[in-house]
């Protein structure tokens, strides 16, 4: 069965999708979500949360789901050696021959989400956090999701290494294809896990993905997202994180791809003493448009959040950082810091930076700030005065700007991929200077 979107921004209407053997609750949620999408309509720039990003180009295309792999999908290179488990989704469907579930590991349960709908944890958590009542694209995803990953880590289980979710998109027979991925990650009390999601593709397609993450008491969760879609692709991604007492979550987003991209990361600090570190790097050129939208909601007392987003923009690219932090009345002793720094490499690149803090009690330590600047001419001269050519000097400084985020990535393969993604999207950055080559799908 194929789902279709009407190519008209005034008509947000869609039939909910159904999967064989779906529990009644899921059927109901899908129907409600489809209804909400219709009621909410496509977001327009009249909404404060969408004021920088028009979805008109997205809504004007007749998107269809089509789970056949696009030509050349097999040539996506492996992410790196030895993930604990890997799930590959091509145009929304699981590809078993590129997937390895790790269910022989005690305490780890990884399933395609369509096979996990009867689990207790799914019933308890699915669609409880990502808000399809108020967010149209989340509603669309909730109505149409095809498959995704279900990851459940038992209390006290420490997963060494990482779990990789790979998504590949692409049009089929010239027809634009949309994919709706839906993931649920539940890290039990005192468990530890690293999940990496990476997105690749070719040509024009539309990825709409929602990942719900639940970090139980004292759980340590590292989530990485590499958005490396094709330059003609549309990508709407929502990561919804729910943190319980003393949990520790790190969220890192590297966005280098996509034509029109919305990266939404929402975190609710629900339990006392929870810690969040959220980092993002967007590296844009050409006519790319990437809108980063983050929300950190301090609900419980004694939570710490640290947010750093950096943008590097060249050509006619447009980048947005819209970050909101809310400190609720009960969230006393909150410590929160939010920073956005942007580097403009051309006269025509544009960045909008909108950090915001809403504090509803007076026993907090919060600050935020943002900067927009060009390459430091003094530093550039310093490097050149030592014999380093101008282009190489520029590259060094651009990489240095990004390195604060890239170098902090704990896993080698993750750091290398981030570096490669950075080099591959910045034509002026020389990948070979770090012994890396980027071709084909990686560009």
């Amino acid at each position: 069965m194929s789902s279709v979107l009407v190519p008209d921004i005034r008509q947000a209407c869609v039939e909910p999708r159904h999967i064989d053997g779906e529990p009644e609750r899921v059927r109901r949620i899908r129907a409600q979500a489809a209804e909400r999408f219709q009621t909410l309509g496509w977001p327009t720039t009249r909404l404060e949360e969408w004021k920088y990003t028009s979805l008109l180009p997205l809504a004007s295309i007749e998107w269809k789901t089509d789970e056949r792999p696009p030509e050349g999908a097999d040539s996506v290179p492996p992410f790196g050696d030895r993930p604990v488990a890997e799930l590959t989704f091509i145009n929304g469907a699981l590809h078993a021959n590129r997937s390895a579930l790790a269910n022989e590991h005690p305490g780890i349960r990884i399933l395609p989400i369509r096979e996990a709908m009867e689990t207790e944890s799914f019933g308890q958590h699915f669609a409880r956090y990502a808000d399809y009542e108020r967010h149209a694209l989340t509603a669309l995803n909730t109505a149409l999701w095809q498959d995704g990953a279900y990851i459940e880590i038992a209390p006290g289980t420490m997963v060494e290494g990482f779990i990789h979710l790979l998504y590949v998109g692409g049009g089929n027979a010239g027809h634009p294809v949309m994919s709706h991925h839906r993931n649920l990650i539940v890290a039990g009390r005192g468990s530890q896990i690293t999940v990496i999601e990476s997105f690749f593709g070719k040509g024009t397609y539309f990825t709409n993905t929602v990942t719900e993450i639940v970090a139980g008491d004292g759980a340590v969760v590292d989530h990485y997202k590499f958005e490396n879609e094709s330059l003609e692709a549309f990508h709407i991604g929502t990561v919804q994180i729910h943190q319980e007492r003393s949990s520790n979550v790190t969220s890192r987003t590297i966005a280098t791809g996509g034509g029109l991209v919305r990266n939404e990361i929402n975190v609710a600090l629900m339990g006392e003493g929870a810690t969040l570190s959220m980092e993002g790097l967007f590296v844009l050129s050409g006519r790319q448009h990437v809108d980063n939208h983050t929300l950190i909601d301090h609900v419980a007392p004694h939570c710490d959040s640290l947010e750093l987003f950096k943008g590097i923009l060249d050509g006619n690219a447009r980048g947005i950082f819209d970050g909101r932090i809310i400190v609720e009345p009960d969230a006393v002793k909150t410590s929160s810091r939010q920073t956005n720094r942007n580097l403009l490499l051309s006269e025509t690149a544009v960045v909008d930076s909108k950090p915001s803090l809403e504090i509803h009690n007076d026993d907090v330590k919060c600050n935020h700030g943002s900067t927009i600047g060009q390459l430091d001419e003094e530093a550039l001269f310093y490097l050149r005065a030592r014999g380093i050519g101008e282009e190489e000097a520029r590259n060094l400084l651009v990489y240095a700007f990004a390195s604060e985020i890239v170098e902090r990535m704990k896993i080698d393969v993750v750091r290398e991929n981030a570096g490669r993604a950075l080099f591959s999207r910045m034509p002026s950055l020389k990948a070979e200077s770090r012994g890396q080559k980027a071709e084909g799908w990686l560009r």
């Binding site: 310093y382 490097l383 014999g387 400084l397």
Partner: protein, 252 residues
């Protein structure tokens, strides 16, 4: 080595050097002294090719080449080194990576084989001893969080590694305590040879006790107004710059 003839130069259209003439021979150490605002730093920056510093007339010939026609990196590759007055901090650029890239671009240009990581480290360690620098400096970002003295020592360390033919020290001594001053002077003295020339730009005579110049020039109002041997530096120290300014005025 370096032949500056009637150089007029400045920044943002403002003329600061007003007809400077200076010849530095191979193997010589020249000190340029002068009051603040006399054009000392402008001279250093014009020679190194800092953007916005423009020569309006005159010539600068370096080893037979028109120095002013070369971009900054070409000058460095040809063997000109400027120890900066205010070394800039470059967060995220690793000291050792940077210096290896710099050295190899100089070597490549000069037709020498590039050094691999091991060879470079060996060289760097040797030169680090010279400036009494801790190895931990190498893995930090360029000048980031360095004290004033550490930054100046890092300049001398880079100079020692790059082994320039013409080293220009732009007030490298200012703000240094006596130990750091001695280290800087030793670094420069180690470079001294028949093939290396040094131009020491300074406001004070202190450094010149350790780093004895062959010639001393006084720069005032964009021109060299007096030249002499090392004893001129001592005279300046005792009598200040006023008498020179008076002398210059008297001759106008």
């Amino acid at each position: 080595m370096l032949d500056i003839k009637n150089l007029h130069a400045g920044i943002d259209g403002k003329e600061i050097l007003k007809g400077l003439t200076l010849r530095v021979g191979m193997g010589e150490v020249h000190a340029i002294m002068g009051p603040n605002g006399s054009g000392k730093s402008t001279l250093a920056n014009v020679l190194a090719g800092r953007p916005k510093y423009n020569a309006t007339s005159g010539t600068v010939t370096y080893l037979g080449k028109d120095l002013l026609a070369l971009p900054a990196e070409e000058r460095a590759r040809e063997g000109v080194f400027l120890a900066m007055q205010y070394p800039v901090e470059i967060p995220g650029v690793n000291n050792i990576y940077f210096l290896k890239a710099a050295l190899n671009s100089v070597r490549k240009h000069q037709g020498q084989e590039e050094l691999d990581a091991m060879e470079f480290l060996q060289l760097a360690r040797e030169k680090m001893k010279l400036v009494e620098m801790d190895e931990t400096f190498m893995n930090r970002s360029v000048n980031e969080g360095f004290s004033g003295g550490e930054k100046k020592r890092n300049e001398i360390f880079q100079m020692a590694v790059l082994d320039p033919k013409l080293a220009i020290l732009d007030e490298t001594d200012s703000g240094l305590d006596i130990d750091a001053l001695r280290i800087v002077a030793e670094g420069v003295n180690a470079l001294r040879s028949e093939q290396h020339s040094v131009l020491v730009i300074t406001h004070y005579q202190r450094l010149l006790r350790y780093l004895v110049p062959d010639f001393v020039h006084v720069l005032a109002d964009g021109r060299i107004v007096k030249s002499g041997g090392k004893e001129l530096a001592e005279e300046l120290e005792q009598k200040g710059y006023e008498w020179i300014e008076e002398e210059v005025l008297a001759t106008r």
